[in-house]
Amino acid sequence: MFADQSIYAMLALPALGAALCLVLRRPRHVLATIVIVSAAEVAFAVNVWTEVLGGKGFVAAADEWFYIDAFSAFHIIVLVLVFVLSSAFAGVYFANETGDHPFTVPIARRFGALWLGALTAMMLVLVSNNLGIMWVGMEATTLLTAFLISLHPSRLSLEAMWKYLIICSIGIAFAFMGTLLAAAAVQSGGTVEAEGLFWTQLASPDARLDPTLMKFAFIFVLVGYGTKAGLAPIHSWLPDAHSQAPAPVSAMFSGFLLNTALYCIMRYVPAVRHALGGEFASGLLIFFGTLSILVAAGFIVFQRDAKRLLAYHSVEHLGIIALGYGLGPIGAFAALFHTLNHSICKSLAFFAVGRLGQKFGSHEMHRISGAIRADTLWGLALLGSLLTLIGVAPFSVFMSEYQLLRATVAAGAWLPLALFLAAGGVVFVSALRHLIDMVFGTPSLTAEPAREGAMACAIVMSAMGLLLLLGLWMPLSLAQAIGRAAEFVTGPP
């Protein structure tokens, strides 16, 4: 019902919320506002999702400038899930900010406005049909989130922010070149009006595209948006930004900002398949995916900072998702399922590390010790989320990685399979080694820890519950929804 109005509402609500945050007088009110707005977004998103799956398969508004199919609807659901969890956690996290980093009114206002602004921009990326507007939204996310990294200006956070700003701006500029080249490819083909440059036109089988230009376009788009998605070897901003940002911001970065960029890349894939055959795009995706997994595994071994460890895990998992997209229908299904699992799991992991970091006064792993006795709730959350992250059964990441293995076998991609398994083994062992000390070591805290409130319990329970549930049982409707989303990438069966 009212699906097209829901699209406008999904864009307008966070924008208005951002403006409202600028005039609120208490940090508490800002934190409440972002939770309320995110929760309302969930309602709209679910409405759109059911409409897409139940009806014609898409929802459009504004002369098809806004267009949501199963692929974007699925991403919107993941986006709002991450946002509602992270917004709720922001309340827990900032209420406990003390010492050097008080959560004052100006900081709260800035945080609220940029946080909801980033939500608006990401939503714009996901609902836009026009590839140019999609790019505008993507660049806006970079600019809006830069100051979230240095919410508390310090030497380290400013350094991380500057690198993020410059590297991602260059990346996004390359993506713009890619967008222009795609437009030129449409014009040289001469069948469709380039006026709109809609991905629906690009993806349609009757679009005649110039193959040379489309090839250039996809390389630029892959490298450009790939910078933002944290694909190796252009991921260098990612560990810095993730480690310096406040924990809710890191959770949102890892949980969805990276996926938004990957989403943009995937919008070009059907066009590339039509113009150049299936091998070109999937070959590049498999290459960058496998490379990211390998590079991340190498860095994970040597990490000392818990948040940097998680950041490299993001590089690894985005690599896994990209690899999945390159492997045909089963792979695309696994990639989308993995997107959902990774987003929930990684957000929870950042929550746990952020909160424990506040208690132990550091994110250095050797200083976090005996977390489960110092703080039962977040210690358990850290244990559960990290075990999930490295693919322990019966949690859902295990399931999606298992499907991915099946996809590599089905596609006969033996080299990526071998590399993926080897890197997975390295990550498993080294992450487990860090994890055991952090969770079960001798507690280095002497003070009696404060009890966590109901909100914190609810966040941990719901996230862990979802991860366990999805690992044990995949509802048929969800499987169908993901299957239909995967069709966009691989073409109808």
């Binding site: 140019g132 030497r155 400013l158 350094e159 690198k163 410059i166 222009l180 014009q187 040289s188 006026e195």
Partner: protein
């Protein structure tokens, strides 16, 4: 029409070499402003259909932002920073000029490769735009001052703008406006970032930003 484009081509190349060889940041900002105005006129020159409202708006918007607003903001930032020279860049000025020569050859070669697919694009503008993009990227990596990196980023934007104007006919106005708005916000955000960095570190040298690694 064509001689005008040749002038833009020649002067555009010249401005890039000036940017590569200049150490005074104020001079670089002025060259950047000059490029903004020069390239802002390209849409008017290449469009055969004459001066439509859309083309005029696009040209005016670009000239106003890149020729006037950005340089003005950058000059204000420079005044705050109490420095006006790029001393000891990561790559020296002579080497930079040499890079420029190589990059020019490379961009002509790339433009030749793209030429068959982009029949409607004037060749001079194609190689100029690729060259400008190279120069922008080079300035970002080869200079020490954060302000010079912003200048490099804007040079890169200039190059992409020219490339877009000559290769794509009729991008929707809405998209153009969005792109301009993003560029505007980008400069603003980078400006504030530099302000904070300057306050925290007491300088704008990016080689001090090396605490985070691994």
């Amino acid at each position: 029409m064509l001689p005008l484009l040749d002038i833009v081509h020649a002067v555009g190349l010249l401005s890039c070499f000036a940017l590569l060889g200049t150490s005074r940041i104020g001079a670089c900002i002025r060259w950047l402003a000059f490029q903004g105005v020069l390239f802002g006129m390209v849409p008017v020159i290449v469009h055969d259909g004459g001066l439509t409202v859309r083309v005029a708006l696009l040209a005016l918007g670009n000239i106003a932002l890149k020729g006037i607003v950005f340089p003005w903001l950058l000059l204000k930032l420079r005044a705050r920073a109490h420095y006006n020279r790029e001393v000891e860049p990561f790559i020296g000025f002579v080497a930079s000029i040499l890079f420029g020569v190589l990059a020019l050859a490379l961009s002509v070669w790339l433009a030749l490769g793209m030429k068959p697919a982009l029949k409607q694009a004037p060749f001079g503008m194609l190689d100029l735009s690729i060259f400008v993009i190279f120069v922008g990227l080079f300035l970002i990596v080869a200079r020490r001052k954060a302000l010079m990196q912003v200048i490099g980023y804007l040079v890169l934007e200039n190059g992409i703008f020219v490339f877009g104007v000559v290769t794509v006919v009729g991008t929707p106005l809405l998209v153009e406006l969005g792109v301009l708005l993003d560029a505007f916000v980008a400069v603003f955000v980078m400006g504030i970032a530099i302000f904070h960095i300057n306050r925290e570190f007491g300088s704008m040298d990016v080689d001090q930003l090396t605490a985070l690694r691994g």
